[in-house]
């Protein structure tokens, strides 16, 4: 069964065994400001879409931090991003590219130093057609964290305004560093015949 609606783990249907592969994993053993998956071109022949599954926490001295996703090391203002977010009392939506232009931003995902101990945020990031050179690379996330004082659930999408084939993905805790135990796993969804 080929996934219905692209990537199953984002909340849609289910991938078939053999169509969804684990490609790489980073499980941090110390604090680290960024995590990068590189040499992604080696996957271009076999995979149509990518997914990253993340479990992370920040050491920022606050309730939460923000996460950038950057493609091919591009830190210029070449990204668009918008989100829908529930806080437990209200639902809001915004475009964040004006204030945070240097990546696709997730603001619902990273509990930080004053959040409850041992609580981590989680997210699935779907990157669609990352190796096609006729379109901008587009991504979406489902992310959240739950706990006393600071809870967030969010849907977001973003685009990197570049048609280059994807060669690297960088995750940047823009106000701090990811703590030990944070985990980033990269998966590939195979193309059909």
């Amino acid at each position: 069964m080929i996934p219905l609606g692209i990537l199953a783990a984002a909340g849609g249907a289910v991938a078939a065994a053999g169509s969804y592969d684990l490609l790489a994993t980073e499980i941090l053993t110390g604090t680290q400001a960024t995590v990068t998956f590189s040499s992604l071109g080696t996957y271009a022949a076999d995979y149509q879409h990518l997914q990253v599954r993340m479990v992370a926490r920040s050491n920022r001295g606050d309730t939460d931090s923000y996460l950038y996703v950057q493609f091919n090391g591009d830190t210029a203002s070449n990204y668009n991003h918008h989100y829908l977010r529930g806080t437990g009392s209200s639902v809001g939506s915004d475009v964040t590219s004006a204030s945070y232009p240097s990546g696709i931003l997730d603001i619902n995902f990273l509990p930080a130093a004053t959040a409850p101990s041992n609580s981590f945020g989680v997210a699935t990031l779907d990157i669609l057609d990352p190796f096609e050179t006729s379109k901008y690379t587009t991504a979406r996330t489902l992310s959240g964290q739950a706990g006393s004082g600071y809870s967030r659930i969010g849907l977001s999408s973003g685009a990197w305004r570049n048609t280059a084939s994807l060669t690297s993905i960088t995750f940047d805790d823009i106000f701090g560093s990811f703590v030990s135990g944070s985990r980033f796993s990269l998966y590939g969804l195979k193309a059909g015949a």
């Binding site: 199953a8 249907a13 592969d21 609580s119 981590f120 989680v122 809870s151």
Partner: protein, 157 residues
């Protein structure tokens, strides 16, 4: 070296109405779990309650949800007595992240919907570092109806 994953572990299809469904003895060889539910509950719309490892301790669960019902949006938090007040709509998919890790609480994200009334996304946390070895689903004072399906998958990392 790519590793095929998203492995089907178990599917439960109810042959008759049931007040709860449990996945027990979940293998610890994966990093994440995905649970896909497609079903219904008897009577009026009911929420689904989820226990990890049979834990019904009050205060060990917290959740935040975001909803749209066709005319408005709203968000709420849930701190139920030992359970998580997820939605039991027509369908939901739960991502239980790092379920086999023992260095953190277990946080999950859910997409749920009832085509007649609501679409929802939820994050929830079980405040326990233990590895998850069982998942129990219940509805509030109602039953899951015959034909409801629960499918569990394991994802390596």
């Amino acid at each position: 070296m790519p590793t095929p994953t998203y492995i089907p572990l178990q599917t439960i299809t109810l042959g008759s109405a049931a007040s709860s469904v449990t996945f027990a003895d979940i293998p610890q060889t994966y990093r994440d779990l995905v649970l896909v539910y497609n079903g219904n509950s008897s009577g009026a719309r009911a929420d689904t309650l989820i226990n990890f490892n049979g834990d019904t301790t009050s205060g060990n669960y917290s959740a935040v949800a975001m909803d749209g019902n066709g005319s408005t949006t709203f968000s709420s938090t849930y701190l139920s007595a030992g359970t998580i007040d997820n939605v039991s709509k027509d369908i939901f998919t739960i991502q239980v992240m790092d379920y086999s890790a023992t260095d953190k609480h277990k946080t999950s994200i859910i997409r749920a919907s009832n085509s007649a009334s609501i679409v929802r996304a939820t994050a929830y946390r079980w405040a326990d570092n233990s590895a998850v070895n069982s998942l129990t689903f219940k509805t509030q004072a109602r039953d899951f109806t015959s034909g409801s399906t629960f499918s569990l998958y394991g994802i390596e990392a």
